[in-house]
Each structure stands twice: as C-alpha cells, then as structure tokens.
Symmetry: C2
Subunit: 199 residues, 2 copies
C-alpha cells in the first residue's frame, strides 16, 4: 500500500493510551518495511485541535456521544465513513430519521464544519493488510465543493484508490447502504472483505 | 457479447408492431455477425403466456398499469430490473411506500409468481453495444432460492457478467438505489454508462 503524498497523521481515541499504542504499532510496522511516517496518538480533543481533516472512523452508535464531547470543528473538514446498519439474517441499511449517518452528523456539527462522506465501502481488514494494494473506487459526496475536492485528493493519494464525485451530501444514504450490500454479498457467496469498483 | 447458452427470446410490448420491429432488428444484427438466435416479438400477454422467465424491462411509472393488464404470472420467474428514481440537480432514489420497486411489484403479482431482482445496474447503452463485452457484477436477490439460482445462471451466461447472491428480496432497495448513484458518478465525473463490480 502506498501513500504518495506526505500527511501528518494523528490517531485519536477516548482512551489516549489506546491511540498511542495504535500509533506506535503503525510506526513500527512501517519502519520494519523501511518506510517513515508521521503518526502520533492522543485524546480525541487533542487530536481534533491539531487536525485540518478529521475522519470519524467510529460505529454509528457512538457518533452522537463522541461528537457532543468535542468542540472546535469549525472550519475543519470532517469525513464520515459511517454506515448505520443492522442484521436480521441478512444485513440491512438502518439510517436515522435524517436519512443517512452523514445528515445526522451534519446536525451535530457546527454549521462551519465542512462535512464530506467518503471511505464508506472499504472493509477494515483491507486497511490492515498494509502489504497489499487497495484497488477500489471511493464515492465521495458533500455540499462543500472545495472540501470534497480536498478529500478526493486524499483518496487518490492512497494506494490504488480512485475517488469519484458522487454529488451533494444527500447522496450519502446510497453510498452508506452499499456496505450492508457488500456484507451480504460476502456472506452469501463465501467471499471476504468485498469492495466496489465503478467503471 | 456472448450468450453461451441458447435461450428462446420473445420481446413483448403494448405495441405489437414495435416488439416485432425490435425483434427483427435483433435477428438482423446478429445474422450480420454470422450468429443465429431465436427471437420473436408479440403483445405483452402473448409473450407472457409462452415464457418461463419474464423480465419487466419498463420504467417504474409504467409498472402498475403493465402488470394489471396481464394475467398468468403464476409459477413464472419474474425479474425486476426496475429502479424508481427522480432528479433534482442530482439523481436520487425514489422508492414507493413498499420500500423498493421489487416489493411494490410483489404486491401486484399473484403469490405464486417467483420474483427476483436482477440486472438493475447496467446501462441500456451497454446492452445495445453488442460488439462489446459486458464486464460487470450483477447483484441478485429473491425470497425464492430456486428462482434466484435460475436467474443467476442466466446472468452468468451473458457475456462476462457475474451474478452475486445478495440475499432476500428485502435487499432490493439497496440494489435499485445504486443506479441513481451510478448516474451521479457518470454526470459529475464526465463518464458514460457507468456500471459496478464487486470484488
């Protein structure tokens, strides 16, 4: 997996020790491959304070509490890869009344936060396989065109990911709902960590 | 484009002359390439009567009237490639109260009809490009496991299409909603006839 642009990365957690341990693990893994990286861990507020771009990589059920305990989102680009879903035999999309996780998050953030939906349809296991390429399409949507462009550049700098502009934030529900579909396809066809390509 | 299994195809329309003209056009195009095919046109009821598998290739707004004018769906496999959607700047998914076109269609058909959702995410233009391969994934869902298997075999017999079992009919809303997403991606990224691959 390649990062062709240099970013300073900070991993946040409610549990600062956990974030630091994840960060150290990342640095060690990359050093073992002769690569350097800028990565550190910290508490959520501390990490938010020093970040220009924030990725809310948390389950939907923890979104409200996490955001309400933090302040200072104004002016920052906030990426939602959050997929509200449930399971009853098969996986299904289970959005809040706002229509999508992204639109729910929009209501929790200050107006000046720049919300972008991205990275929703890539399995966690694929991110952890750092010796393999990530060869997927990433649908990106937002009501803030400049923030969307910045996030698409970030997407395109990771391995073989390709970003596609999917339109305004209202498209989030479709992008989020693809994840339970991919989980069903994995399950019913005996596949693992299924992703998506648009072409 | 290859059909590796031989099917007898009948094209139905409210306008029988139109169906016959489409059929003749298909036969002529294939003969010009040294290929034979079994294809004929007819009125909708006549075509339904002789078919084991029926593909409802009609816009969502015509679904109710078309089905209500026909009888004899009992025991037949009915494929819904129907995607209810609308546009307001961007394309969005616009399902009926039943949750999806497929579940709406289920309410119109007799209980003995065997409904399967398939072929939703392939652009019409790609079907018409008969000298090119169709290299896409096709999500298939149904509450009738045998009917789903039959439809997956049909999918896998067409060009390079690959069928994926996506679970029960309730998954239809996700599959249908991918089509407006693909239309947005085509529009906002200056692409044409975008399709989807799962992998």
């Amino acid at each position: 997996m390649r990062l062709s642009v240099h970013y300073d990365v900070a991993i946040g957690s409610r549990d600062e020790a956990k974030a630091c341990s994840s960060s150290e693990c990342t640095v060690t893994l990359l050093r073992g491959r002769g690569l350097s990286c800028s990565c550190r861990g910290g508490g959520n507020q501390e990490v938010l304070d020093v970040s220009d771009v924030v990725i809310l990589a948390i389950p939907f059920k923890h979104v409200r509490q996490t955001i309400e305990q933090l302040s200072g989102f104004e002016g920052k680009i906030v990426i939602s890869p959050v997929n509200p879903m449930a399971r009853s035999g098969h996986f299904y999309y289970d959005p809040p009344a706002e229509g999508s996780a992204a639109e729910f998050i929009k209501g929790l953030l200050p107006e000046e936060a720049r919300l972008v939906t991205a990275f929703n349809n890539i399995a966690g296991n694929r991110w952890r396989a750092i010796d393999e390429e990530l060869d997927y399409s990433v649908a990106v949507c937002s009501d803030d065109e400049d923030a969307k462009k910045t996030v698409m550049d970030i997407v395109n700098s990771v391995s073989r990911l390709r970003a596609y502009d999917a339109g305004p934030l209202a498209v989030s529900s479709i992008i989020e709902s693809i994840t339970p579909l991919l989980l069903n396809i994995a399950r019913f066809n005996k596949m693992k960590d299924v992703g998506v390509l648009f072409r």
